[in-house]
């Protein structure tokens, strides 16, 4: 039996070797490299005409597909969106994976297509992984609106941006610089290494720091807490140990800033290290009140969901097509104009501090 096996193995081995050689030879002849695919992406052409005066259709079915259903922040957004849908006589629902994985959202998009929803609102875990199915959805006349975290531009009609990415990135550096008197080492505690929006913001932060007025400030490290409470907590400790001269931490993620604040509030660094970033008032109230955190910012997630819902309805009712310059009315939030690349910006983020924090509950 063993000799039999051995022969089989030899055959397998030589077959594999042959296949490899063949593949390499082929590669030598006609390689497909990155440069070949440049410019393949086509613009999603929309021939439909917008009718700004069309009424919002009744009974629209909107589906919210958050990064993951267990994320408290996304839940606030989606619930507000669902409530908004009821306002204009539509119905909304929230579906999604319980892990924030790029691939998990894909199967949900496919089933939403089968369920013939009128619009899909998605906070993409990966800008490209969800692209194929979303294009499929648009082909079947399902409107696609990205919110919170964008997809690739030709895979959705609109992107509801919570605030301009540039403004978020730059303003965080500006805020912490003021708190530190434009001096000292800072670090960033981000979410996952692959998080699209955080990485965009960080690019803008780095760009802002190039301005000569920040010459005495230095970004020493970008750490990743994976949007995991415990991991972010431990990363904060590590940062403070590794960089004893660290004066400030920017954490552009709600999980990260809460974990960092909790660690600092309970350690000897309290009052010596400044924390700023994006957080929800409910998570941060304790640390603002005990003086660990002076200020942080965030947009109102409820408004984000609300605006998303109205934008999707306007698309599905034919009021807008997603072209730049079109206007629509988003309920009580007033009129919004579509910007470049189908982007709609909610507004500047709110800065929370001791004085105003009790006015917010989310």
């Amino acid at each position: 039996m063993s000799s039999h096996v051995r022969t089989r193995r030899r055959v397998t081995l030589s077959a594999t070797a042959a296949a490899c050689v063949l593949a390499v030879t082929l590669a030598g002849c006609s390689g497909t490299t990155k440069n070949d695919t440049k410019g393949e992406a086509k613009e999603a052409a929309s021939n439909a005409k917008a009718d700004p005066n069309a009424p919002l259709k009744k009974g629209l079915k909107l589906a919210f597909l958050p990064k993951q259903i267990n994320n408290p922040y996304e839940k606030i957004v989606d619930e507000a969106g669902i409530a908004a849908a009821e306002e204009f006589g539509g119905q909304g629902k929230e579906v999604g994976p319980s892990d924030a994985k790029a691939s998990s959202q894909v199967s949900y998009i496919n089933t939403l297509i089968q369920q013939r929803q009128d619009a899909i609102l998605i906070a993409a875990n990966d800008p490209n992984a969800v692209c194929g199915p979303l294009k499929q959805a648009m082909k079947q006349d399902i409107k696609v609106v990205a919110y919170d975290s964008d997809t690739a531009k030709d895979c959705r009609q609109l992107f509801i941006n919570q605030a301009s990415s540039e403004e978020i990135g730059r303003s965080q550096v500006q805020h912490i610089a003021e708190q530190l008197g434009y001096k000292g080492e800072i670090a960033i505690l981000s979410a996952t290494q692959n998080a699209t929006n955080q990485n965009t913001w960080i690019e803008f932060m780095k760009d802002e720091l190039k301005d000569p007025k920040y010459k005495d400030m230095k970004l020493v490290k970008v750490a990743y807490g994976d949007d995991d409470d415990q991991k972010s907590f431990q990363e904060t400790q590590g940062l403070l140990k590794a960089y004893p001269k660290l004066k400030g931490i920017i954490s552009p993620t709600t999980v990260g800033i809460a974990a960092a604040a909790r660690y600092i509030s309970d350690s000897s660094y309290k009052g010596k290290v400044v924390i700023n970033g994006l957080g929800t008032p409910n998570q941060m109230r304790k640390y603002v009140k005990d003086g660990t955190v002076e200020q942080f910012s965030l947009w109102d997630p409820k408004k984000l969901g609300y605006l998303g819902s109205y934008a999707a309805a306007a698309l599905a009712s034919g009021q807008i097509t997603g072209a730049e310059g079109e206007k629509f009315k988003a309920g009580e939030l007033g009129e919004y104009t579509i910007g470049k690349d189908g982007e709609i910006i909610l507004g500047p983020p709110t800065v929370f501090d001791k004085k105003n924090i009790d006015g917010f509950d989310f």
Partner: protein, 331 residues
């Protein structure tokens, strides 16, 4: 052999369940039996299904490989970073497959030559390979893979005249090959022998270590291939691709009645297990059953899959024993 256990083999039960889910789905849920939906649902299981093939062989031989999902991620990350560096895709694929085979070789070497338990080894390489993936690609996400290849991995491109997407068609062919190898060749029989009683198999002249080594190499190879499929299918190479997939693969295989103790199970059962989890999740999602409930259902099915056969066996054994004690009295 008693009658009850004969007709109630678990892999048959899973097959029946699969058909039942399909019928119930097409009867009650609009859009389920739609070809586009079936293509999408099937394609979503592509990587799990592919990896399940060598995993079945491993489990039958009494081994397990937890590092497959990390290898998938490593292969994806490697493909991404080489693609970014401007390599040609035709060269990237064999390199990834080679890395996969080498990774499998390391697993196999540690298990067979150093003599470590496969569970411990592959927990280690699970961490190692995922770590390497993160070293190779860092925080980047690479996209824009060549459309000429990517289209073969999507569910919209199906084998002409059917609703079967190409990755699943490939899987079907490989499944038939694997089934023949496992059930109709000396190689396959020796895997059962190793799984049932390793020492006996060794004394019967089976080259236990060599076979195990081959299986691990195969698992690494297929996992890296699945990594390529994954990358093309989602059009995105990331270090965290396929995170946690190993448990889904193992759950599917075990659900199909392959005994974790080794030596028992059929490939058909494993394939039915993969498809059952895939279709059931699709059906539940279509009916707006939340993901949490789906997770619970998967867990319960898994427990049932190991518990039921044992309960059936013990009940029928008891019945047999009673019959045996009653028989002399009536004779």
């Amino acid at each position: 052999m008693n009658t009850l256990a004969k007709y109630l083999r678990w892999d048959t039960v899973v097959g029946v369940l699969l058909i039942a889910v399909f019928l119930a789905g097409s009867g009650t849920t609009e859009g389920f039996a739609d070809t586009a939906n079936l293509s999408a649902a099937l394609n979503d299981t592509a990587e799990i299904a592919l990896i399940a093939l060598p995993m079945t062989l491993l489990v039958v031989a009494g081994q397990v490989d937890l590092s497959v999902a990390s290898m998938l991620g490593l292969s994806s990350a490697l493909a991404g970073s080489l693609w970014e560096a401007g390599w040609s895709f035709e060269l990237i694929v064999p390199i990834c497959l080679l890395v996969g085979a080498l990774g499998g070789l390391l697993n196999g070497w540690l298990v067979t030559r150093v003599g470590l338990p496969s569970l411990a080894v592959t927990i280690g390489t699970l961490t190692l390979y995922r770590g390497l993936a993160s070293v190779v690609l860092g925080d980047k996400a690479i996209a824009d893979f060549p459309e000429a290849y990517a289209q073969w991995a999507t569910y919209t491109q199906t084998v002409p005249g059917t609703f079967v997407p190409y990755p699943i068609a490939l899987f079907a062919v490989l499944a038939v090959v694997t089934a023949v190898v496992l059930h109709c060749t000396a190689f396959g029989r020796s895997l059962y022998a190793i799984g049932a009683q390793e020492d006996a198999a060794y004394f019967a002249g089976i080259r236990v270590k060599r076979l195990k080594l081959v299986l691990f190499v195969l698992a690494g190879f297929v996992a890296s291939f699945a990594g390529i499929v994954y990358t093309l299918r989602y059009g995105s190479a990331r270090a965290d691709n396929g995170l946690g997939l190993e448990l889904v693969v193992i759950a599917s295989v075990l659900l199909g009645g392959v005994d974790f103790d080794g030596g028992k199970g059929t490939l058909g059962g494993a394939v039915a297990g993969v498809l059952l989890i895939g279709l059931l999740n699709n059906l539940l999602t279509l009916n707006d059953v939340s993901n949490e409930i789906q997770v619970i259902v998967t867990g319960l099915l898994l427990v049932a899959s190991v518990l039921t056969p044992r309960v059936v066996t013990s009940v029928s054994e008891r019945r047999q024993r009673r019959a045996a004690t009653a028989a002399p009295a009536t004779a």
